[in-house]
Symmetry: C6
Subunit: 221 residues, 6 copies
């Protein structure tokens, strides 16, 4: 029975790594879906917007607005393409591991080494990318409304301001909560595994039988 | 046998939390799908609408209509982007837990701590977002029909009014029903688990065997 | 063995409710997919159609046609948004239950209480929504052909008439068949469960063993 | 052991019906996916085509071409909407049955009663709908090329003719092959089940054990 | 034990047919996805391209270019629609068989009889369809650049030429490799099955037990 | 017991090949999804961009910009079509093998022979394709801004430059890390399998029983 306890002791960090693998995979998938969609819409907006649709009698769009539009569009597409590149590069390596459902292969998944890039891809895609998409829509409103009714564009921007603040505030809150949450549960997770190991070493035959038959559970712990 | 009873007693709240995890996950997925789609259509509408397509001989669009269009579009995109952000941030953490199918990890999922944000994302996306989409289409009808036939735009608005009322009424009904429903079933759920614990402590060997072999059931209860 | 019989007797209505849950879930999913797609196309049509594309020399579109277009578009979007709202509200609660694969939780799913709304969402989306989409395309044909060749629009409408009649006739046939079918099979279902209970009370050891090992079957019956 | 033989004898027609259920489900899903996509493209074509884009100096589109375009578009949308309606109506009822994986419920699925409508939906969507889509593209080529280079439109039509013939020929071949194939295999299927019943009645203990453990197989036969 | 050996001998060709069924299914699915997407883009291109967007002062598009565009577009749509028809016709019959996971039903799947059509659908969709799509984009570049800068169109064509050659060369290499590969592995497959049969006839009790419990393996071999 | 050890020794390379199969499959799927999407957007951009939208009074687009646009668009579509061709050709052969879940068939999958082409498809689609998409958006910005505000186009390009550098740097880092990672883990993998073989030869009865029951694990190792 001690063999089993050892194997769990041995698999403790492997199991945590396995969970990190699943978390990273879910993050990259979410990033990749959001990125492709929003970058596509941004490109359509660039192609179909008409910057000089007014004849010489109506006033021209102001320069800062055009600068903002050029910067925001390029940033939006670049950020999402970067997220898509990172996601397309790392995800296949992680899916190839996680689809085999063999815990001991978890060390061969690149999600620990590439941790920083995964967080970067996810952060680029969600926080920066979605924020830039909101700003892009506001700029498009400005371009469309400028020669028609400037006040409407001011109102649209005024509405967007609290949302952007809310947005950044949420991003900070989420980040803190998740970091705190991760740290806390990781500590608990190790304690729990220690206790589980203890219980198993003490465990009677019935418990063993029950656990052995719970296919997926045994595969992983 | 008492060990098993204890383990169920211990897992009672964990099991309820596991169910909340599944509910939150389903809500966020629904919110994320709806949000991306409707925000995309709203952006296309902003880019492709022609606010000054009439030459100087036809009458201009009235200012309140343009204000409404700017406000509604910005709100619509902002609300859906907020829902998308919340969904993209929290969902990976929950999927990483729920894909492992291990009940004891449920405490590490952020769905309890982030409960308020999940409800906010879902509420934003469904009730507010879908309502704003309906209003947006009505405004688009106004813009298209204004210089052609104003009466058609009035009729379109008149048709929309009962739908909006129906809409808000349904939202209230759903909210009340679900809240009442949740409260009621949660109470029943605890009672049921108590009874289940009792039955299992009394249970004969056959029952135990049967339950042990029901793989997925045992994994969870 | 009588315990098992009792448990099936106890689960008889629960099992029927479980099946209703699956049926409602499938209906809402179908409604939600169709709704989002068709409402999106309707919005694109509103934005991109040009109602005053003809200069003063060609004749204007007639008022009844414009009224029809305004009414049909608004109805189409409103009907699909209503179906989407109902679907997005109820579906997560049902998926959270059905994903756990535990029969006894079926009472906590809102599909019985919300039965009327589910049928409404499905009816709105399929029968009314698809019919309105067909009418919308006919109106778009009218708008496009009016100043070019009115006869082509008449022919298009003439072709659509038998389809609409076929459509309504099918909807009625389907409704009757399904209602009759449901009633009939529900009666059979109860008889069958009664017989199954009887067989199980009489059953020999071999039968029991065979059934116990059929994982998914035992989970549900 | 004779009990088991009887149960297979009893389940013979049920099993064939189960297979028909799977076939009908696959057909309706294919029909529904194709229909929504092609109808959507047809609607976009109606909205965005410009029938009077030429000023008075270039020649008008001929009347038969406009008639053809109006007829083909309306037919195309109507045929696909009909297929979508039938698919959305019947599919949920079949999915609710097939997702439970219980063979004895197969009689409650409406796929036998509604057989004619399922074949109609599938035929509409695939044969007629895809053929009309090809013709629609040819007509669009005509409209676009008419005032530019009529010969190109003639060539496009000439290329399409052998494809349409190939198309109809394939449809007939497929239909005959599948009907012949279905008839033949159904006869074999019944013979095979008879033999299987025989083998099982003769079977020794080892065979029985092996079959019982093959979960999915036992669930169905 | 000889019974088991016989059953494997009997299932040898059935198993090879089962694998061909999976291969054909995967090919048709890939063909159907690619076809719908590329045909849709081609139709959008036909509707939205403006062939006479230049006033009388700029030069007209040359006739051979217009002929090429008409031919390429019609071929592209016809080839993909043909692939879609074949795929929609045969795929449901194959999915209905493969979803049941019963090896003995493999003879009822039409993938052997319809082998030629499946290869045709796949070849149309991938090799011919993708090649035509590349040519279509080159023609669109020509149309857009003709009245602006002819040299750019020449450069674009010059870039495409090596890709088309690479394309055809790859198609030939793939075809040869896969045909050779299939032939070789099929020979090996039969030898392997012969050896497996031998091993099983010689096999000791332990081996048998191990194999019997490997659910999915036993289902298929 | 030595038989089992031998079988693992025999399956050592097969298992590594099985993992490579999963990795290649995941890569090709990612490549195919990205390719279809980005090529589609590129085609829409070609069709909808207006290169001569300015009347004779505004200045013409410069020749190098038009050359760049023609080259970049053609390369973008050709690269993605090549990736799509390779993916559509090889993926069905690999899916047909991997869906059967039989380890011994891994030699019949073409992923070893076609290794070079798979890497080429993946590299084309991700690194080159995504990079070209970013450049394409920058060129589109130039075309749109050229006659309005050239400085905005310069700023957009300036923003893109660090992203492209970051992009290439990431691609190199990823490539090195993954190659190093693969080499390292492959060495470990062989050692681990050697040790596993050793443990199994030494293993007691309990271990054997536990492993045999872990269905999916045994299927693969």
């Amino acid at each position: 029975m001690s063999t089993q306890g050892d194997s769990i002791h041995h698999q403790g960090p492997a199991f945590l790594s396995w969970r990190k693998l699943h978390l990273s995979k879910a993050k990259l998938k979410a990033a990749s879906n959001t990125s492709a969609l929003l970058a596509g819409f941004a490109m359509v907006a660039v192609v179909e917007i008409q910057l000089n649709n007014n004849n010489s009698d109506s006033e021209q769009l102001p320069k800062p607005l055009l600068f903002l539009f050029a910067i925001c569009t390029t940033m939006l597409v670049a950020v999402h393409m970067l997220a898509l590149l990172i996601s397309t590069c790392i995800l296949p390596n992680m899916e190839a591991i996680s689809n085999l459902h063999i815990l001991s292969l978890v060390n061969e998944s690149p999600h620990e080494k590439m941790h920083m890039y995964i967080e970067l891809a996810w952060g680029c895609s969600t926080v920066l990318g979605i924020l830039l998409f909101m700003v892009e829509v506001a700029i498009l409103c400005w371009i469309q409304f400028y020669s028609v009714l400037k006040e409407a564009a001011y109102v649209a921007t005024a509405i967007l301001v609290p949302f952007v603040i809310l947005f950044i505030w949420f991003a900070i809150i989420f980040y803190r909560n998740l970091v705190a949450h991760t740290y806390e549960t990781r500590k608990c997770g190790i304690q729990e595994l220690e206790e589980l190991k203890h219980v198993l070493e003490m465990g009677d035959e019935l418990t063993t039988t029950r656990e052995i038959r719970n296919g997926p559970l045994v595969n992983i712990i």
